[in-house]
Subunit: 151 residues, 2 copies
Amino acid sequence: MAAAPQDRRPTVEQEIDQRLAKAGLRWTRGRRAVVEAMGRSTAPMSVPELQSAVGPGVPLSSLYRIITDLLEAKVLLKLEFAEGFARFELDEELASHHHHLVCTSCGQVADLELADLEVTLGASVKSIRRRTGFRATAHRLDFFGLCAACA
Amino acid sequence: MAAAPQDRRPTVEQEIDQRLAKAGLRWTRGRRAVVEAMGRSTAPMSVPELQSAVGPGVPLSSLYRIITDLLEAKVLLKLEFAEGFARFELDEELASHHHHLVCTSCGQVADLELADLEVTLGASVKSIRRRTGFRATAHRLDFFGLCAACA
DNA sequence: ATATATGCAAAACTTTTGCATACAA
DNA sequence: TTGTATGCAAAAGTTTTGCATATAT
């Protein structure tokens, strides 16, 4: 659903602009390329994947520095799936809260929304705080198994 | 509760023995030290943590090789919390299925059991298979926030 | 104009590997 | 005894950093 004229909620682009500004970061060619590549992807990307999505204009060291900055600005989220390297995706508030399906055979990682579960998880957060004093502000739920193609 | 004489279920040690044997692995001093250190810990350990728990008798390269072997034998489980390095814990069937509370302030990782949630998650696994064809055989749920001490 | 971001090269950190020796079965 | 595991050193893979230059504001 596109933003209607009377919609006062900022677009994703505007929201990203704001986060960069708040972090004191400039809107540069490299950062634009990374954010756009992330926006095009439907699953968290590794740095090599990001590099080929962005094209040869951005060297590795810059990619890593851009990622570090975007993490600090809360534009990106860092994920690790016990693969030995990190993956990244757009911050959940910029996209939507979701979980991951990790295929243990081919390594593919897919996004998945499970709205009904979130209610239950919200209740768990309260019970955790009551039982342990831990104040959870975020969670991650990943499923491991075989994707349709590998099964 | 200790195993009663009539209890036919193997102890954790026997179960580990079996898994090593099935994988064709010998029960050596280094592996024993690692398994014991893991058994003593209540939270997943990084390799440096494991190294100091085990003491100076086991060099890094051996530790990593031992970990690799124990992962293959399904005695250990590998976890990553987007810290840039891996953590390890005893396989869930050797301990108990649980989740993690990761403090984003001090970095502490604590174990947590949430039995009631497992039922809901089981239902989700079925719904995922129906909707996407993905066959989940395991899951991981981690909560991020502030531990009681940091809050 | 000025502070910030980039590009290149070098380095740091985690993890893996080759090879000779030591050890478990 | 025989194959497996270990220890040391060297290397590989991922991520970080120093410094000079280029760029956004």
